[in-house]
């Protein structure tokens, strides 16, 4: 039975290839992109590493990105949201239970269905590194694990207070760029991502991706080493800075993106020119093999996988083979089909 199933699959695949070769109705660019894009699922790790009321904007940053990726299709089960402080319920918040990312206050980014996976003092460097590398402690809830695989495109967004080569977590510890690079290298070795988009909005953010060596990583940072990232504006009714500049302009872009949009990552990398950001946005592309201008933004910010639309009939029913064979002579005789399984363990070495 198992063998039979495989044969049918093989047939379908073969016929598909024949069709594609013959018709080529789909635009070449799309086919190209679809063939290169090898990811099958999307994950997002969104981290606000700083606490205290006056860092309201960092929580607003991360919740805004959360809102965008969720809107574009990544389910809550595949978003790991880490928020170091509870702004919505802070006693100083004149609007209890709400967090806004704009002084106009038209979007409450702390809506009804925010699932915070790591909160308050759970947001530590240790937990973050464990999360990335998959070395979570026994008994960690499924919602607190990054269960990505070799087909996952992972978005990592960090915000907080950074310096040259580190990002401060809470008020007590910091993750260095080396630790971050090691964690990502380990992810690659453990086949925990297909492609990784690393986005960071802190002061001297570019220092955080300097040490990366792992392939398929595209990184963008709100400011270069030696530069401060600045906040965008104040809400005088709440009395805090609402959002950081880079994230503000990134969101302005993302808000216009729909799940089937043709916007590319290349465009996204240019959302915040220096004249509006004040800081210089840093981009690191050397580890990334594809041209960002040909990569749809939904590869990272949504859950859109490569699909092909076929108007032709394809028989996928798994009925008895004999039922379909009317004329045995007309059938193309196929060669014997054999599948060789790669051995899981190099047992020959021990023979």
């Amino acid at each position: 039975m198992f063998l039979k199933l495989l044969v049918v699959f093989g047939l379908i695949l073969a016929s598909c290839r024949v069709e594609a070769d013959n018709t080529s109705v789909l635009p070449e660019g799309f086919v190209d992109a679809a063939q290169r894009s090898t990811h099958t699922n999307n994950w997002a790790v969104l981290v606000d590493a700083s606490r205290f009321w006056f860092n309201y904007r960092h929580v607003a940053n991360v919740l805004s990105i959360y809102r965008s990726v969720k809107r574009l299709g990544i389910p809550d089960s595949q978003i790991i949201l880490m928020i170091a402080d509870d702004m919505a319920c802070n006693a100083r918040n004149p609007r209890p239970g709400q967090v806004y990312n704009n002084a106009n206050q038209h979007i409450n980014v702390y809506g009804d269905d925010v699932e915070v996976d790591y909160r308050g003092y759970e947001v530590t460097v240790e937990n973050f590194v464990r999360l990335l590398t998959g070395r979570t402690q026994n008994g960690t809830a499924r919602s607190k694990k990054l269960l990505s695989d070799a087909g996952s495109n992972v978005l990592i967004y960090l915000t907080g207070h950074g310096g040259d080569g580190f990002l401060k977590f809470q008020d007590s510890e910091e993750i260095t760029s080396q630790e971050l690079a090691d964690g990502i290298q380990q992810m690659w070795e453990k086949k925990r991502y297909n492609e990784l988009f690393f986005m960071v909005d802190t002061c001297q953010a570019a220092s955080l991706y300097e040490k990366f060596t792992s392939p398929n990583v595209l990184a963008v940072a709100s400011s270069l080493v030696g530069e401060d990232s600045l906040s965008h504006h104040v809400d005088p009714s709440i009395g805090v800075y609402m959002i950081d500049r880079y994230t503000y302009y990134a969101l302005e872009f993302l808000e216009k993106v729909q799940p089937f949009s043709k916007r590319t990552i290349g465009e996204f990398l240019q959302v915040c020119p220096k004249r509006v950001c004040i800081s210089t946005v840093g981009v690191r592309k050397d580890l990334y093999r594809r041209d960002p201008h040909k990569v749809p933004i939904t590869d990272f910010f949504g859950a859109i996988r490569p699909t092909r639309v076929s108007t032709d009939r394809i028989n996928v029913t798994l009925a008895n083979e004999d039922d379909f064979i009317f004329d045995k002579d007309k059938m193309v005789t196929k060669k014997p089909f054999k599948i060789v399984m790669e051995s899981q363990f190099p047992s020959e070495l021990f023979k």
């Binding site: 205290f52 009321w53 006056f54 319920c89 802070n90 006693a91 100083r92 918040n93 004149p94 209890p96 104040v234 005088p236 009714s237 709440i238 009395g239 805090v240 800075y241």
Partner: protein, 680 residues
């Protein structure tokens, strides 16, 4: 420099001896450098612009929400209070204040305290404070901020500040409607100036502890409700709802200051509301523009140090500092004329209310106590300051004179000189034995450590008695005012100090050793006082260091005119004399029209009062000034007086001893009888 080429002296001693010859010049150079450094601090190159270093404060990020209705409420409350004041000429209208607080929904309590005035047979005074707590709506009551307004009865001699209470209540009414308070707000109305505040603070922090009631002069009682640990306090003294300018007062008890961030916060918010505000802000008319920046800065620095040096708080805020609560007073002064009035009188207090709201919201944002910015600073201008790292060198340079002189005096003590002479003599005779002999010499010759120690202890005892005697039950029962009692005790003890060097004379070498000990104690005392209260330490140093440098015990080196000048200067530096001179100067400044004789008489009574107030301040509020003067400056003066007199018991013996190094047995015999004489 024949000294340096003398082969008989080792290189180290050469340097020391060279310095020792010029010790006065070196010390005076240091003194001038220290004073010059202080003057330089007034130059903009030497001080820094203020900035806010506590992020949490985020001043001015919120739009003020307080509106004109709060001002209307304040006006209405002021009118009501004025009517109440007619019925309560010398008391506080407690019932009215409590009723208003209750009406605004505050958790209102009263606090009773008792002062047992110790002098003149003892009297008891009773006082009553009223406070209302606004609990933080969404957080536990673990932290609080105090908004205080002193109430002055209509019969008070001080300026009328009855508008503070209506303003406080109007703000309380506004604050109660808001949901964003993360700390409890305490609205406190105190009476009897600083006494009420002191009692309230003591009751807040120690009220539930069992204190020895019989010993305490101020019995604070206990509070029925508290609001967690107090983070900051704002004291409001408003003369009228129509204000001209705001004077920000910061000097607290013993010269302590609130964190510089707090001052900057107030300045920033006042500027936003367009209120002329500043440290020692002068009224609009009196602001001088003719002075140069340097002159203005220097004047500001000196006035700040002058008000800090007495250690008396300039407002009720100063008492908070003792409990590590940053606090300051905003004293709003009445507008003199109505000619410049821009807005309608119905909205006059709106800017001030907005400022109070802004300060309150910034303080509300605090995550922990003020800790980021400076606690030790001198304000040069409203937006410029000098940090402790910049002003301390001035004091260190002054005090360094004492230590330098102490070292050089020590290394050239007669004993050491004798050793050196001896060593030099021996060096020529048998060079190889020098090392051995030098090791032995210090054991052979002994300085009169014991008698000097006893002398020091005796002087310190006099200082200690100054603190203790006036408060003894025996003296307190004498039906005598505090001022004459304290003054007579102090004068008596000073007289003992004055006579002491005539009666007790130290053995040979004793004066020199005493000189070294004096310099060390003096240096340590000044640096410690300077750390705790820079102003007091610095002024004391500027005043006394020249005398200390000039002081010399070796009679043969100095002319008699110089010696007499030093003696005269020492007499003038008597702490009681200095206090009198300061009071005299202040009286002269205040009443320039009076004839000199009257001024001097008035100053004498004022100085007597000052010493009594100093004592009372020290027992009730914990002011150190009286303690410092009695326990440190008076003993130091007695020693200084001893040194300037340079009475030697056995001058002939001493000369003898100086010329030829005596054997240990001879020395023993010299030392022994003299110490006996002293004990007799």
């Amino acid at each position: 420099m024949g000294l340096l080429s003398d082969p008989s002296i080792s290189t180290q001693s050469k340097l020391v001896d060279g310095l020792a010859r010029h010790v006065r010049k070196v010390c005076y150079a240091l003194y001038v450098a220290g004073v010059a450094w202080f003057f330089c601090l007034a130059l903009p190159e030497f001080n820094h612009g203020t900035y806010l270093s506590e992020n949490a404060l985020s001043p001015g990020l919120v739009y003020p929400e307080i509106r004109i209705d709060a001002n209307r409420l304040a006006i209405q409350l002021l009118e009501e209070l004025q009517r109440e004041r007619k019925d309560h000429l010398s008391t506080t209208p407690h019932a009215w204040i409590a009723a208003k607080m209750n009406e605004f929904g505050l958790e209102t309590h009263t606090h009773n305290y008792t002062l047992r005035y110790p002098f003149g047979g003892g009297k008891e005074y009773h006082g009553k404070n009223i406070y209302g707590i606004l609990r933080a709506p969404r957080i536990a009551s673990t932290e609080g901020i105090v908004f205080a307004a002193p109430y002055r009865a209509a019969s008070s001699v001080h300026a009328d500040i009855s508008a503070s209470v209506p303003l406080l209540l109007a703000f309380a009414d506004f604050a109660r409607r808001k949901n964003y308070w993360a700390k409890d707000l305490i609205f406190l109305v105190t009476e009897q100036e600083q006494l009420g505040m002191q009692a309230w603070l003591e009751a807040y922090h120690d009220g539930d502890r069992d204190l020895d009631v019989s010993k305490a002069y101020l019995r604070p009682g206990n509070l029925p409700a508290r609001a967690g640990s107090l983070q900051a306090a704002l004291n409001i003294e408003v003369q009228d709802l129509e204000i001209d300018h705001v004077d920000v007062r910061i000097e607290g008890l013993n010269g302590k200051l609130p964190n510089l961030d707090m001052f900057n916060l107030v300045q920033r918010i006042m500027a936003r509301e367009g209120i002329a505000s500043g440290y020692k802000q002068a009224p609009r008319k009196k602001r001088r523009h003719s002075q140069s920046h340097f002159e203005q800065n220097l004047r500001q620095m000196l006035t700040m140090l002058a008000s800090q040096s007495s250690g008396v708080p300039t407002g009720n805020h100063g008492l908070f500092h003792r409990y590590r609560i940053d606090a300051l007073t905003i004293a709003a002064n009445r507008r003199a004329t109505h000619a410049t009035l821009k807005g309608s009188p119905g909205s006059a207090a709106v800017p001030l209310l907005k400022a109070i709201e802004g300060i309150a919201r910034s303080l509300n944002n605090l995550l922990e106590r003020f800790h980021q910015s400076f606690f030790f600073y001198v304000i040069v201008n409203n937006d410029r300051y000098i940090s402790i790292g910049d002003y301390m060198p001035a004091l260190v340079a002054l005090v360094a004179c004492a230590f330098l002189k102490a070292y050089l005096t020590w290394s050239t003590l007669p004993a050491t000189n004798a050793e050196l002479d001896k060593a030099a003599g021996w060096l020529k005779e048998h060079e190889q034995e020098v090392e051995l002999e030098e090791n032995l010499d210090p054991d052979k010759f002994e300085l009169p450590y014991g008698s000097v120690l006893i002398y020091l202890t005796a002087t310190l005892l006099i200082g200690f008695l100054c603190n203790v005697l006036p408060l003894q039950q025996y003296f307190l029962e004498i039906p005598m005012g505090a001022a004459p009692l304290t003054t007579s005790v102090l004068s008596f003890l000073s007289l003992i100090g004055f006579v002491l060097p005539f009666v007790v004379v130290l053995p040979p070498g004793g004066l020199e050793l005493l000189h070294v000990a004096f310099l060390l104690i003096y240096g340590c005392a000044l640096i410690v006082i300077g750390l705790l209260n820079f102003a007091l330490g610095f002024f004391a140093a500027v005043l006394t260091v020249p005398l200390v440098i000039a002081l010399e015990t070796k009679e043969e080196n100095s002319r008699s005119t110089l010696r007499n000048t030093i003696r005269l200067a020492t007499l003038a530096m008597n702490p009681m004399m200095v206090v009198y001179v300061i009071v005299l100067a202040m009286t002269f400044y205040q009443f320039p029209e009076l004839p000199l004789q009257k001024i001097m008489l008035r100053a004498a009574t004022a100085a007597m009062d000052a010493s009594a107030y100093g004592l009372i301040d020290s027992v009730i509020y914990g002011n150190w000034l009286y303690f410092v003067i009695c326990t440190i400056f008076l003993p130091l003066w007695i020693i200084c007086w001893t040194l300037s007199l340079s009475k030697r018991r056995d001058y002939a013996d001493y000369l003898d001893f100086d010329e030829s190094p005596s054997t240990p047995s001879q020395l023993q015999s010299q030392v022994q009888p003299q110490s006996k004489v002293k004990t007799n």
